[in-house]
């Protein structure tokens, strides 16, 4: 009589399973990166940034002016930046991706130059007493940043950047009394609308 063989195959050594798991996660990460450009752009974060801008629009009130108006919008920009960064980090973690993987770095490098220019021009225009030009300039340069950064991202991101540039153009030539509403419509409305679309289509 032949010796009985167990029906179940023996489990492979634990080290081999561990190594296989690591390789699988690496394969998943690379496939996701290749398939989606930059996926950590967070729609939920966009919604959060939009809500911050709507709150700033209410708090700032009135036409562009030094003092409270400027302080409210600059503070909201800082809060929105933190919300956006944390949301992107959270989304990247959820998909087991590194935030600054190759597409992530490209996104950040595309985003940074127009934002640095915006910060410098804000200081220069404030010193020159041309605060009235800030809303149009902010919206245009943020739109340019999102468009250039979004060139390496899912298609909806550069589309959002282009919309910001359209609103920015309007703000640049509109009467100063419209500026606050256009800022809220741009940084608030566009972030919320596109954020919801990104969250629905691109996993959060």
């Amino acid at each position: 009589m032949r010796p009985l063989r167990p029906l179940r195959r023996p489990e492979p050594p634990v080290e081999a399973i561990h190594q296989h798991a690591v390789e699988n996660l690496r394969f998943i990460r690379e496939t996701m990166e290749g398939a989606s450009s930059f996926t950590a752009v967070s729609g939920v974060g966009g919604i959060g940034m939009g809500l911050t801008a709507l709150a700033a629009g209410i708090l700032a009130g009135g036409p562009p002016a030094p003092g409270r108006w400027l302080l409210v919008w600059l503070s909201s920009a800082l809060v929105a930046f933190l919300i956006g960064t944390l949301a992107m980090r959270r989304k990247a973690r959820r998909f087991r991706m590194e935030l600054f993987s190759r597409p992530g770095r490209k996104f950040a490098l595309g985003l940074a130059p127009p934002l640095i220019v915006a910060a410098l021009l804000t200081a220069a225009l404030y010193r020159a007493g041309r605060v009235d030009l800030l809303p149009g300039m902010w919206l245009l340069l943020y739109g340019a940043a999102v468009t250039t950064g979004g060139a390496f991202s899912v298609r909806i991101v550069p589309a959002m950047g282009a919309c910001f540039m359209v609103v920015g153009t309007a703000a640049l030539f509109a009467p100063p009394s419209w500026s606050n509403s256009l800022l809220a419509a741009g940084f608030g409305g566009l972030h919320i609308a596109f954020g919801a679309a990104i969250a629905r289509r691109h996993g959060g």
Partner: protein
């Protein structure tokens, strides 16, 4: 025929119902074998970060043949993990895939399994 297809899909969807992820170390035997295969894992990973992808986009991304991709995508579709729509772009047929909620849950379970395996090894 349509009824039979619906029945098959219903069975597949039931089979893909989410299961509780057990805590603690997870043996390899408990892995979702359907997703574990390399091409199928690639399909699901790519669709997890895209609303949908066409057959040709998946083929280019995974660098595989028509036949191979077709067989694996069919298996995922039968399990209720993928939804497939066929249309025409002019006279050229176009097949588009997207991940179903069951497929997304299965993918997230699989990721959790992988992480649990790595974590268990770290604790040893």
């Amino acid at each position: 025929m349509a009824k039979q297809s619906t029945t098959l899909r219903a069975v597949a969807a039931r089979r893909a119902e989410p299961q509780e992820v057990p805590s603690g170390p997870m043996p390899a035997a408990r892995l979702d074998r359907l997703i574990h295969e390399r091409i199928r894992l690639g399909i699901v990973s790519a669709l997890a970060v895209n609303d949908s992808l066409t057959f040709n986009e998946l083929k280019a991304l995974l660098q595989t043949t028509d036949g191979n991709l077709s067989v694996h995508a069919r298996k995922l579709e039968e399990a209720g993990y993928l939804a497939c729509t066929k249309s025409f772009d002019g006279r050229i047929p176009k097949t588009r895939y997207r991940l179903t909620p069951a497929g997304r849950r299965a993918f997230e379970r699989y990721l959790a399994h992988m992480e649990a395996l790595i974590e268990a090894m770290r604790e040893r």
